[in-house]
Symmetry: C2
Subunit: 396 residues, 2 copies
């Protein structure tokens, strides 16, 4: 049975291999991007499932409209507009998580050979979603705020791209964000060339300090925006959404019908109930407080445990910190030393399109307790020291 061409050109997922290693007992893993299960709003979800099924269970178990629960779209519209991502209820399409939104945007826009421009490094799942539709994917030069508007303008002038993909807030893998000026400039380049731009925003509501930034849609109403409940409620629900201009909504709905008819009816209603509840702001505040604390612990421990010359990003939110090793040391070499110390991370290279990231690595802080973070940073510091040869191995 011969599979489609994209299957054969797909890079095997190095990250999945890593996650296997890190599942070994005793390993403290900063590799995944998982939220903390102890912070899931379980009582609220239990109550919402029970109430929803008791109230209108039969209706919530039937087929339902493609675009999703009207009540959920209404409450999302309010929240997004407050957060400066202007969107009416009809501009929102519910999806099986953000990943499904990436798939639908690609399905609606990409013909084989079309050009897609991405930040470098960028979110791997986006490359995986786009791949099957056969685009050419090119990186645009990026700095700590993400994609450079000048480099984007040059790329747009050279060749007409079909899609520009950015994660302006707490980017995966860097953890860093675009300021307002950068967002304005990226929006302006895309608007002037009428090139579709996707703002992927899984972490926007997980801000621990600094000021909230406007969405790209606040500068150009044709921008596409992807959101998710995976980080604020629970990823196991598989619920997210696309916010798109009316001109694209028809194609996105056709794509959604083709992939699953519609998203789970009951799950949508449950999300609407939890989002509308008086307790939801308290839940969000608790998430921000606890994740913010974990991030601070990690940043503080890095300061004391990492050898001089190691550098790292200083995010205002999200789930990740990005580390650059001193003297061009290789993060893949470090990985093997770290696993021996029973601590894990993701080396930087897989996040890059083409070359790059060899001396970089990504650390997640949301899925470990402060105590694990403290111990894990000590282990990782020892591994870096071993690699730099700055001292005899301090542990094992």
């Amino acid at each position: 049975m011969q599979t489609a061409r994209w299957v054969t050109v797909m890079k095997p997922s190095f990250i999945r291999e890593i996650l296997k290693v890190t599942a070994q007992p005793g390993v403290i893993s900063f590799a995944g991007g998982l939220p903390a299960p102890e912070l899931f709003p379980v009582p609220e979800l239990v109550a919402a499932f029970a109430d929803a099924l008791a109230g209108s269970g039969r209706q919530l178990l039937q087929y339902s409209p493609t675009e999703g629960d009207p009540g959920l779209r209404a409450v999302l519209s309010e929240r997004l507009t407050e957060r400066r991502v202007p969107a009416g209820p009809d501009d929102i399409l519910l999806t099986n998580g953000s990943q499904h939104g990436l798939d639908l945007v690609a399905k609606a826009l990409i013909d084989p050979g079309d050009l897609v421009l991405v930040e470098n490094p960028t979110y791997l799942g986006a490359l995986q979603a786009f791949g099957p539709y056969g685009p050419r994917i090119q990186p645009v030069e990026s700095d700590e705020e993400g994609m450079l508007p000048g480099a984007l303008a040059d790329a747009v002038a050279r060749e007409r791209p079909k899609l520009v993909y950015v994660m302006p807030t707490f980017q995966n893998p860097r953890g860093t964000s675009m300021g307002a000026a950068r967002r304005t400039a990226i929006a302006a380049v895309c608007r002037q060339a009428a090139v579709a731009v996707v703002e992927d925003d899984p972490y926007g509501e997980l801000r621990y300090r600094g000021e909230e930034q406007p969405g790209i849609r606040s500068f150009w109403d044709q921008a596409i925006y992807l959101g998710t409940f995976s980080k604020t409620l629970a990823p196991g629900l598989r619920l997210g959404w696309v916010t798109a201009p009316p001109a694209l909504m028809g194609a996105l709905k056709l794509g959604l019908q083709a992939t699953c008819l519609h998203v789970g009816t009951l799950t949508q209603r449950v999300a609407a109930m939890v989002l509308s509840s008086a307790d939801y702001p308290i839940h969000l505040a608790r998430l921000r407080q606890e994740y913010g604390r974990r991030m601070s612990v990690m940043l503080g421990q890095m300061e004391s445990a990492f050898p001089a010359g190691t550098r790292w990003s200083n995010p205002d939110g999200g789930l990740f910190i990005w580390v650059e090793l001193p003297d061009g040391l290789q993060s893949l070499d470090l990985f093997h030393l770290a696993v021996a110390q029973k601590v894990a991370f993701v080396p930087g290279q897989p996040f890059f399109v083409g070359e790059g990231g060899d001396s970089m690595l990504r650390l997640n802080f949301s899925n470990s307790t402060p105590a694990q973070i403290t111990e894990g940073m000590a282990r990782l510091g020892r591994a870096i020291a071993q690699l730099t040869g700055a001292g005899a191995p301090l542990g094992t």
Copy 2:
């Protein structure tokens, strides 16, 4: 914003337009393919959601493996193997409903220009799932048992198809099934040419009479099989599965990761719990009894209410009856007369690839009560009589 090519060549969905018409008050609709909400196992689902969340809620709300819940795959494997669709747990991949299975099979196999062979008439949702991957779709001559093996062998000899798509049991739209000999012959043609064949089986467990038939996989272990919980539990859960040979499983998993990472964790566990419960066989028996009764009422009423010369299929299960009007009368003309009589159905033409079906129509009996079926058949009989000119309009 220029959308992908498939969007512009996609036929607008006539059926969606029809479903709008049929939502008008007072209309008795046999148009959709919805299960009866009054037969959903609501108490069982309520209990399962509560028990699952109480037992291991946090784990069921977290990200989970691509292939799906091991317990659910184990119980599915047992049930399928009993039903002569041999499959181990590792041959099963959970999906967001059968429609997602169709999308994943297409994503894994189809490159633009590849040939896909389908029955004629066939399930519209399959054409919608395949469309975005750019195949050429050709119908194979079909009779009341579905695809003709001789015609399939000719098509396979002429040109190497990438995929053969059949619905051997209670086909949508005809309602009819392949006997064992036809299944064997279709499997043999595909096996000999090593062409991927998909058995789509949303209705197999809804048998009201006659003997259960073996799945195509019982004749060729490389056959792909699509199943769903939409008709036996509830469609609002959006839960189904693909059963595929090991050689294809890797590509299907990559596709699933690309489209949604994995299917809802909690929903899968709930389905596993309901399927494993002692009450499940009672639920299934009740479904079969009630749907069987509705089918009998519809067939009986057609006998008395429809003018001579009208013919219809006589299914052993599923959700649909297929009607052929006398003297080549047009079902689209009938549709307008029927809507005036406040009764609705789907005309046959949209189910055909190319020409055909102009004098045919599809009736659903699962989503109407016996009383509605009786009244609706009387109305439809009057509309057909009007169309044949066999008498003055009897009603309105």
